[in-house]
Amino acid sequence: MIRLGVPSKGRLMEQTFDWFAARGVRLSRAGSEREYAGRVEGAENVALVLLSAGEIPRELQAGRIHLGVTGTDLIREKLAGWRSHVQELAPMGFGHADLILAVPTCWSDCDNLDDFATIARDFRAEHGFRLRIATKYHRLVRAYLSDQEIADYQLVDSQGATEGTVANLTAEAIADITSSGETLRANHLKIIGDTPILCSQATLLRSIAAGDDAEVGAFAQQLGLTIS
């Protein structure tokens, strides 16, 4: 039996259901709206497991599910050495979100990362501590800034309402996921850098630890995908 992990609520779940339906596999929740059990029609030997999107990387890594749907951002942030744990089978074309670095819009002297590097240095000299960037994507942001050779900053953890940290004086900049940028604008923040730190979208992934390659391969083929 192949275990397929899918986000348990919201638009991500609905769009995942639509994606599979377009490929002849009907996924649905069993019973009431509140029950986290699923039903699969149109495919043999596949069980639907409804999970929080944030837990899907971990379940794939452990091999407790064979296939899973989650954002590339969560895979890359949560799984160190992700390429040895999961294989990306298909980008699914929805759930688009960019991980970006944003600073106050009022910083009219900050257009790019070179400006940001200088501002961080000045800030540290002036305030006696490193410029704070609020984020929950610690590994991705640190790797990106290290690659860009930005120094004089520190990351502060923010698990929600990250855009509010600047006005609350607990951070000077933020690194977070955005799709439309509306929340950023409402909080007087602007994106810097030419390209996002990461462009994420919902992705169908295969667990390497879960095994059962023949069965997973057959199901992938039914979906019109090939496993290399």
């Binding site: 160190a80 050495g81 819009t105 009022c106 800030f123 790797a143 800034l145 860009q148 120094a151 004089d152």
Partner: protein, 359 residues
């Protein structure tokens, strides 16, 4: 390979360090995270294990010995002082996308020696100590000198602000190159929008100060191309030490401000020769220190095992006067410092030092 065998080799090294006049110290395993984070930045958080104490706050499992040893010296050390230590350090390995074939140990022994002295001979003393101890392993010794690079940057005909920016980023090659390129071209003055809805801790005055600096900077003449060329030739010097010294002498004709640093290097090499070291076997790489931790600001050195490209150096070290000065601020003390560490685990894998059994 057992921990006991590595420990035994560590003890042999420690004995040699004590014989060289060092007092043994034993810093804590748990160190306050704040000092380390402030000194090393986010890079250290990616590498060190951070843990939480309900009373002492954020703590780190000792990622290196230098900081606690310097702090100990600043609190109660007499001068000059020599310290040695042996113990575990802890380093996370964050693999990014693909784990390496041979992951490094997350926990390994370091045996170290730190010298706090105003004596000009200190560099040679520490290098010679490591060189002599490691001689049975036939390692490749490499050396660099951050002083040389920093003196060359200070010699550039630039404004103080531009020079300070370059010096600040000397350990970050890409950022340094971008700055140098920007200073070598003339850019049209920038226009800045009037800010509305001020948010955040950075103040309007701070921004105005930077804008004023940028506007003053726009009037600066671009750096003549010959300077970037000279710097890149200096940074690229990489040869056996006597040959490197000859090349540096030639470069000092064009960049007279590095003459003092070249003289110092020559004296250092002479001091090593007088200690019986064949300096022709030392590889001098002017940029050696740019690839190490940011805190080295003078001589740097490493000893690597030939044919073990995937290994970290068996020993590393260097001069870190600025770090010692920062850590001594609270006590109002400052003293030049030079030191290094050996990894007993790697020494063991190479067959040990043949120094006889540790007591």
């Amino acid at each position: 390979m057992t921990k006991r065998e590595k420990q035994a080799i560590g003890q042999q090294i420690l004995m040699a360090f004590r014989a060289a006049g060092a007092a043994e110290v034993a810093p804590d395993l748990l160190l306050p995270a704040e000092t380390l984070l402030d000194l090393y930045g986010e890079d250290i958080r990616a590498r060190a294990y951070v843990t939480q104490d309900p009373i002492r706050g954020e703590m780190m499992l000792r990622p290196d010995f230098t900081v606690p040893v310097v702090q100990m010296h600043m609190e109660n050390g007499a001068e000059p002082a020599r310290y040695c230590y042996l113990g575990e350090v802890f380093r996370k390995q964050d693999h990014g996308e693909t784990p390496p074939e041979h992951p490094r140990d997350n926990e390994y022994l370091q045996a170290g020696f730190e010298l706090f002295a105003r004596d000009a001979d200190a560099d040679a003393e520490v290098f010679a100590l490591f060189h002599g101890l490691l001689a049975p392993l036939h390692l490749q010794a490499s050396m660099g000198d951050m002083d040389l690079l920093m003196d060359a940057v200070r010699a550039l005909p630039l404004s103080g602000a531009r020079r300070a920016a370059l010096l600040h980023h000397i350990w970050r090659p890409k950022r340094f190159a971008r700055l140098l390129e920007r200073f070598s071209t003339s850019a049209p003055p920038r226009a800045f929008a009037e800010p509305a809805n001020w948010t955040g801790l950075r103040s309007p005055a701070e921004m105005q100060a930077r804008i004023a600096r940028l506007q003053a900077d726009a009037h600066e003449a671009p750096l003549a191309p010959i300077w970037a060329d000279r710097l890149s030739r200096l940074f690229a010097v990489s040869a056996p030490a006597p040959e490197a010294l000859r090349q540096l002498r030639d470069l000092a004709q064009e960049i007279p401000d590095i003459t003092d640093a070249v003289d110092r290097l020559e004296r250092n090499l002479a001091a090593l020769t007088s200690r019986g070291i064949d300096v022709a076997a030392i590889h001098f790489d002017a940029s050696h220190g740019r690839h190490t931790m940011e805190y080295y600001d003078g001589m740097t050195f490493s000893f690597t095992a030939p044919g073990r490209a995937d290994w970290p150096p068996v020993a590393t070290g260097g001069r870190y006067d600025a770090l010692a000065a920062v850590l001594g601020q609270a006590q109002g003390r400052s003293i030049p410092a030079v030191g290094g560490i050996i990894r007993p685990g790697l020494v063991h894998e190479l067959g040990g030092l043949n120094l006889g059994n540790a007591a």
